[in-house]
């Protein structure tokens, strides 16, 4: 099946001023990226400072294999210190690792699949999906499997999850995690999400979209040198995937869109785009993370303005929530729009053509 054309989305360009250039040069960032953050976010100083510091390490309990108390007892016996944290859904359990005498990933418990290293912010996406046993669920960009396995935990491994990953090497990591965590209700398809056949419907779809990953900066400093062209291409790819999700979602079904970036083209703009496809934005089933209220979506980002369609979407920030940066939005497909969405066709404009 031929995939859809990816249409680039023009990124917002903010010329960096002298102070931005100075700060960027000192810390090795692309000035054009920093200029955008300074323009978009009010508490810019705290935010930039937070990007230079590591965030706490979180450990999700695999409740398919054990329970939180048992895992804590076993790891504390080995010298680890764990503090329970509130997760976005009570069916999930997690700890922050406060003392780690050696890598937790080399413990017997980790190898036995009793836990999974996963940032707390990324649990908001599976929690926002509110999956139920018996659901047909699609994870459109699944590797390395943290969210697919969290979904399986939420339903006690009694749903049917299709985890899609286009890159074979990353699909191997995905299957390794499914095997380690003992998830039985999941299948892996190695293909691009937009190339999935149209003849099946899902009750819930998660698109944790390929993104520029600016929110991961506290952990992955390589992302300091991103380019705006990357934003343009990925925002286009995200729209292709959103269109596909709108087609594959059953009427009345739930769609969750998430990214780990700050870029509004990949966050609020994507939500506004989804709202044009018969996907009705809905409130998230939680309003705080780590005891701190979730941040609202941006209403203004440089030259971009957004309307009511983004009012339910939420942002997570390293400097406020002590996690990686994240963006999450939830939608429900309108019944009467289902047929129209399925008939929608993409623009014929190919990527690479300048306006």
């Amino acid at each position: 099946m031929k995939a859809e054309t990816i249409e680039a989305v023009e990124p917002v360009r903010i010329p960096p001023g002298p102070s931005v250039r100075t700060w960027s040069d000192r810390h090795g960032f692309t000035p054009e990226l920093v200029a955008r953050w300074v323009e978009f976010f009010p508490d810019q100083k705290e935010m930039l400072d937070a990007l230079l510091k590591p965030v706490p390490q979180y450990l999700r309990v695999n409740t398919l294999r054990t329970d939180a108390e048992t895992l804590q007892r076993r790891l504390e016996k080995r010298g680890f210190e764990l503090r329970p944290v509130q997760t976005p859904d009570d069916r999930l359990a997690a700890f922050v690792v406060e003392k780690e005498p050696f890598a937790v990933s080399s413990t017997t418990e980790y190898l036995l699949g009793e836990c999974y290293l996963q940032d707390l912010a990324s649990l908001t996406a599976p929690a926002a999906l509110t999956p139920e046993p018996g659901d047909r669920i699609l994870d459109m960009a699944a590797a390395p499997g943290g969210k697919s396995t969290a979904i399986a935990e939420l339903v006690g491994d009694r749903a049917s999850i299709l985890a899609v990953e286009p890159f074979p090497a990353r699909a191997s990591a995905l299957t390794a995690n499914l095997r380690r965590l003992g998830v039985a209700g999941c299948a892996v398809a190695v293909t691009r999400g937009e190339a999935l056949p149209d003849d099946m419907l899902f009750d819930r779809i998660l698109l944790d979209a390929p993104c520029t990953g600016e929110g991961v900066l506290p952990r992955d400093q390589r992302r300091r040198i991103g380019s705006l062209e990357e934003h343009a291409m990925l925002a286009g790819l995200q729209r292709v995937l959103i269109r596909k999700a709108a087609r594959l979602l059953a009427p009345g079904g739930v769609f969750v869109y998430s990214t780990c970036t700050f870029a509004p083209e990949e966050c609020e703009s994507a939500v506004a785009y989804a709202a044009t496809l018969g996907l009705e934005p809905e409130p998230l089933p939680f309003d705080a993370l780590n005891g701190v209220p979730l941040g609202p979506a941006l209403e203004v980002a440089g030259p971009l303005t957004y309307g009511g369609e983004v009012r339910h979407a939420r942002r997570v920030y390293p400097h406020r929530h002590s996690t990686l940066g994240f963006f999450v939005a939830r939608f429900r497909k309108r019944d009467e729009e289902g047929v129209a969405v399925a008939a929608a066709t993409p623009s014929a404009r190919p990527v690479g053509v300048r306006a």
């Binding site: 990816i6 680039a8 691009r192 990953g213 062209e229 990925l234 980002a301 303005t305 957004y306 306006a355």
Partner: protein, 285 residues
Amino acid sequence: MTQGPPSGERRGKAKGGKGRTTGKRGAAGQKKGGRSTRGPGPSKGTVKADSKKPADRAKAAGAPGGQMLEDTVAEEWAGPDEGVTPLVEPLRGEIRDLGPPERAAIEEALDRFGDRLLEHLEDEEWVLKVVVRTDIEPHRRVFRLRRATLQHLAPFDPIFLGVPLAHLARKASRLTLEGGRLIAPYATRRAVMVNEKGGQLFLYGRHLFTTSLVRVEGRPEAGDEVLVLREAEGDDPPRYLGLGIADRALRPLVRREQRGEGTEIVIRNRLDLGLYLRAQQEIPE
């Protein structure tokens, strides 16, 4: 219904904006002078090919014909006029029932560890299916999955479906790492219990010494495959660690009440749960 307008109304022209920009030299897979200059790339969907050897990286990425993955990404995401094609041909798994010889092979593989173990794996809820992959060498794996999952997801030709139980080969079928875990609670033969230290070393890929053994179930012969479990500890029940191969040195220990003092290798490591982290690509079978 037509496509909606680009989201986010523009209040004015962005300074320095140059319109649509992504092209063959843009985006995640930038090319310059024929070489990829790709930076960190998107946070999902990229392949971290750690090897410095181009052939290894291409192989790791599954790029056809040894072509570098990054070049493939650059070319295909750049999108010629007819549109973007998938990165590689989708990998497909053909799902089918077990044939009589395959079922017999699985029963034979399981019977080594206990009687009628297959009955614990199939019932009204659970079913065994063969998934055949043709993108790599003829490759047949038996998966255990729920019937509902099969009904919902089989049409997508997944390469992986449920929990892998065994790898089918011409000469003999072999349990997968998870297959051993599935049958461990019911096994009555060919199981060895080890102490914590020995178990930890086993998880790092090491063989088991005499001093690590706590108990041996059944009477494994040299060359027999055995389940390796860590002994119960306090409230914790025995925990499955992987699969080993009995060495000749194990036999005298079995005869003399299953304990020993030396540092001879008695169980050779075949598969252990540490492979989930150690294996860079596919977990061996």
